[in-house]
């Protein structure tokens, strides 16, 4: 017997496993079958079915002995930005060809410690740089949702493979990373839930670095409860990451249904932009209404520097990326393209190994950090970043959480926004400020567009108040009662 994972959430699958209705091996076999049927989505870079079955057998054995962990026997897929011991890890880049790490990222190690099963490694934008998953060396991921006329759409990025895998239903959950919105935006475009925790909450050790002052890993799953469960497993202090925060991990699941009565929810005026899609505005209004009906007080707030967040981000992130990506030089791992001397070998390797978007960002980063321009660009951006963070600090003196749209649009056709980098960057306009301030943020699916595509709402919380954030998310989820799933066209 194989079990169809599409019929379950992590929480309901755990119940089924606990009641011995099925085994992890049966569930994993079903996941593998569904994953292989979903190949047209191009969501996976590496499938590890044998490893998955071996992990599932071990999970069943532990459960039989009464030693079940928090995620015992649950099949997950891992963004290919997390180093997984002995399994090809590519960051979706040509430059990491053949790289099999000798170590396991702390975040994934924590998941395996709680009994989770790995289905394989997920496609993403190259080095997590992108908002549509079209920059991957392994080709674009296709959103399980299609336009009414059958047009293939992007799943969002950079965790587009993660969002597609969960939305298509072969993985019960997936890991994502978020630098400027890379968990929340694809979650919104694929109709699933994703949370970017507070900077420092989840260890970044063993995750391929993009922009170190922004990168944070988090879970992507079907429900708020599933995200809470996964975050519980992933989070925690790690002495190997100097930015990991040494404070206890609360029980994220315990108070999930506590509601929002008496909470104050902020609505930032500045997120209402000129020319905004009326459907997005309407959904946001609906979200306000839902929280109000659940007993929250809606408060208008100001985040005056919002307009400058994207520009700040597109200086800070490339600057850090250009520095982080200096390690890819063809000497110690990955691709090597020979040259007549060492410098030429570096140049050839990096010229051939990095895709266009990555090169563009390395160039911007190198430029803004170069002598003569450092203060005008980089220092200036770091100062504006301080102001953006202060905006949030002031707002959080008055409110407990903030409600905004997640993305300015629903999923768009593959190839539509490729011409102009700045147009593509605008996808992250609502998610980037949270990242710059290091705050936790999540996207909850809240409705469908007139074109029948999922739309998400974003909630932003106080630092390390993920519990409260998840509670607001759960309230929103209950009110939205979002149950839509994509038609499985790839199976026909």
């Amino acid at each position: 017997m194989t079990i169809d994972p599409d019929k379950f959430t992590i929480a309901s699958a755990l119940e089924g496993l606990a009641k011995k209705e099925f085994t992890s091996v049966e569930l994993t076999q079903g996941s593998i079958k569904a994953m292989q049927a979903a190949k047209p989505l191009n969501a996976m870079i590496t499938e590890t079915p044998e490893k998955a079955l071996e992990m599932a057998r071990a999970a069943d054995a532990r459960r039989a002995k009464g030693e079940a962990g928090l995620l015992e026997g649950i099949p997950l897929a891992i963004k290919d930005l997390f180093a997984t011991q002995g399994v090809l890890t590519t960051a979706a880049s040509h430059i990491l060809d053949g790289f099999h790490p000798e170590y396991e990222s702390t975040a994934t190690a924590n998941l395996w410690k709680q009994g989770a099963v790995m289905l394989g490694k997920l496609n993403l934008d190259e080095f997590a740089m992108g908002s549509s998953n079209e920059t991957s060396y392994y080709g674009p991921v296709v959103n399980p949702w299609r336009a009414k006329d059958g047009t293939r759409l992007v799943p969002g990025g950079s965790s587009g493979g993660s969002a597609a895998a969960v939305s298509a239903g072969f993985a019960l959950g997936a890991t994502g990373t978020d630098t400027g919105g890379s968990i929340r935006q694809p979650a919104s475009l694929c109709g699933i839930t994703g949370i970017k925790p507070t900077y420092g909450r989840v260890s970044r050790w063993g995750i391929v670095a993009f922009a170190s002052s922004l990168d944070q890993a988090g879970p992507m799953a079907r429900t708020v409860r599933d995200c809470a469960l996964m975050l519980q497993a992933m989070a925690g202090f790690d002495p190997k990451d100097s930015t990991s925060v040494d404070r206890p991990v609360p029980d994220y699941v315990a108070n999930l249904d506590g509601g929002v009565k008496g909470m104050r929810i902020g609505i930032p005026r500045e997120y209402r932009m000129d020319g905004m899609d009326p459907e997005i505005v309407a959904l946001w209004e609906q979200g306000k209404q839902w929280l109000k009906e659940a007993g929250a007080e809606i408060v208008d707030i100001n985040l005056p520097h919002t307009h400058y967040a994207l520009a700040t981000y597109y200086i800070v992130a490339p600057a850090e990326a250009s520095s982080n990506l200096a390690r890819y030089d063809g000497v110690r791992y990955g691709l090597r393209v020979p040259g007549k001397d060492l410098t030429e070998m570096y140049e050839n390797t990096r010229g051939e190994g990095f895709g266009r978007e990555v090169q563009r960002r390395i160039m911007i980063g190198t430029y803004v950090l170069s002598a003569g321009y450092y203060d005008a660009y980089y220092t200036k951006a770091q100062k504006v970043r301080t102001l953006i963070k202060k905006d949030f600090e002031q707002a959080f003196q008055r409110v407990d959480a903030i409600l905004t749209p997640t993305a300015p649009n629903a999923a768009f056709p593959i190839g539509m926004k490729n011409d102009d980098p700045v147009t593509m960057y605008l996808n992250d306009v609502f998610t980037v400020p949270t990242s710059l301030a290091g705050l936790p943020g999540m996207s909850v699916p809240a409705g469908l567009s007139s074109g029948g595509l999922p739309l998400g709402l974003q909630l932003i919380g106080k630092p390390f108040e993920e519990s409260q954030l998840l509670r607001v998310g759960r309230t929103l989820e209950k009110a939205a009662n979002y149950t839509a799933k994509p038609f499985h066209w790839w199976e026909s």
Partner: protein, 95 residues
């Protein structure tokens, strides 16, 4: 601020990226588009504002200055594109 082909070639050199001349032109226009977009930050008054150095108020931890690992040449060299014995090999650096 506008970047021309020569400036692009110089940045590519600094970034150790081989850039074909026919790509430099297109890249110059893409980079200029991004730079004119970020130019709007000049409008923000940042007098007396400290640049952010850490997003959370945290002190960088130091670990004890002690050997905690090592003696794994095979693990270290496992992914080497080219090696000789326990060394990475690269093109000649000194004549």
């Amino acid at each position: 601020m506008s970047l021309d082909k020569a400036a692009v070639a110089k940045i590519a050199k600094l970034a150790r990226l081989k850039m074909e001349p026919d790509r430099q032109e297109a890249l110059a226009s893409e980079l200029n588009r991004i730079l004119s977009f970020v130019e709007e930050l000049q409008a923000v008054n940042t007098d007396n504002v400290q640049p952010m150095t850490s997003v959370a108020p945290m002190k960088l931890r130091h670990r004890e200055d002690a050997v905690t690992d090592g003696g794994k040449p095979e693990a270290v060299l496992k992914n080497a594109p080219q090696r000789q014995g326990d060394f990475y090999t690269v093109p000649k650096v000194v004549e």
